[in-house]
Symmetry: C2
Subunit: 252 residues, 2 copies
């Protein structure tokens, strides 16, 4: 009997060429498919909720695959896969879901967090997971700059050349900075994201804050639909795909 | 004018062959001496409070060196060194101290922490910094087993072949387990430590707890002065040199 297995996956993206299988380089999807191939003795295709770029981390990436192996209870895939996977990928959960479940098409909300260590130096064990900036921004001003982002907008300004999506319209539910211990954290939730959109938003917001701009300027840049108006793209190391939600009512 | 500069250093030990300069391999002392050499245009000798083994981390290693460079205020060595050092070493503080200060001979108390993730899996960004064990120990029993360790003892049982110290007598002030978030942490403070002593203690305590032994057994092993009585040595990845204190009254 064919079963559809949903995986919750965390990974340290530092040493990966991103999520998606490439002709060259180590990828998260590639490593998990390799382990699934050993278990099944045949090629198994894994579908992820979306790609993450080279160097981007995940606390709760979601993926699914179909299996005909009746002798493995769904939750046992966690230990079986972890015993074969490299230590920078961990399966947090494996569960059987309905045959129709599709980790990308059914995803309703994606939540990312971007970690910034502003001013001072960063302890070595945090260095792979944050963007160190010399300037220490004012969080109130950052949040005023980020305010125009919530809602439904065309985010053409904040994508990278080569983004394959036809429509650049996305809905954002949350886009706000908070403090977590020694870190400044940008939390962003939306129905979906364009390529490099989160990093482009973070880089632009930080640059506008430092330059003294107000939210009118942010609004003007957003509505310009001109990629050359965006600021620098923040580095991949600070970005975590935190959660993927499949029920719109679960918005937090 | 010659000045003596004291450094507080943190590092991720994963990719180092330990603290001390070796004929082969990357070492923390070696990397800092290389950066000091560039600043001074001559070889500068750095003295550490003690060696840490390959894979062991430090939050507050202490080291000192002599400089004749009058044009660099002591605290500016922090930024100057950090700009040249690899990102897995960070200088947290640089300060001028008296000419007589010696980071090894003057150290009164060393404090280590050992991180254990018991049961379940470990998120990828914690994996380099903890020992994952399948068994989940009882913290009360661990603390009863560790109780006989405080005080002045001959720790021959818990060292490794090749330890160069003549006397194996050391004084321990604290040796206790606590819970910190998802981790079980062994905190140990002593005047000094033998080679691999902390890792040997952690491995032995965990093994005795799992085997159901009581503190009499721990006392017997300690006083046997027989290395073959010790349990396994816990892996380097869980161990952090947390602090080195130069004033006995500052015991915490």
């Amino acid at each position: 009997m064919k079963r559809n297995i949903k995986l919750t996956v965390s990974y340290d993206g530092t040493d990966f060429n991103g999520w998606q299988v490439q002709t060259n380089g180590r990828t998260v999807q590639g490593e998990i498919e390799k382990a699934l191939g050993i278990i099944h003795q045949e090629k198994i295709k894994l579908t992820g909720s979306g790609r993450t770029d080279s160097g981007v981390h995940a606390k709760g990436q979601i993926a699914n695959f179909y299996t005909e192996k009746d002798n493995i209870p769904a939750d046992k895939f966690t230990a079986a896969l972890n015993s074969m996977l490299p230590r920078d990928i961990r399966i947090l959960k494996a569960e059987a879901v309905s045959d129709e479940f599709h980790s990308r098409f059914d995803a309703k909300i994606r939540i990312y967090r971007y970690y910034i260590k502003a001013g001072g130096s960063c302890e070595p064990w945090h260095d792979r997971y944050c963007w160190r900036t010399r300037h220490v921004p004012d969080i109130g001003r950052l949040n005023r700059l980020a305010a125009p982002l919530s809602g439904i907008h065309d985010f053409t300004t904040f994508t990278a050349a080569g983004d394959p999506s036809k429509s650049k319209i996305r809905q954002l539910y949350t886009a706000a900075f908070t403090i977590e211990g020694a870190f400044l954290v940008f939390k962003i939730a939306g129905n979906a994201f364009l390529w490099r959109m989160v990093r482009s938003l973070v880089g632009t917001l930080m640059q506008l804050e430092e330059g003294g701009a107000g939210s009118d300027e942010m609004r003007r840049i957003l509505t310009s639909l001109d990629r050359s108006e965006a600021g620098t793209t923040a580095p991949a190391r600070g970005l975590f795909l935190e959660k993927v939600l499949y029920d719109e009512r679960s918005i937090i």
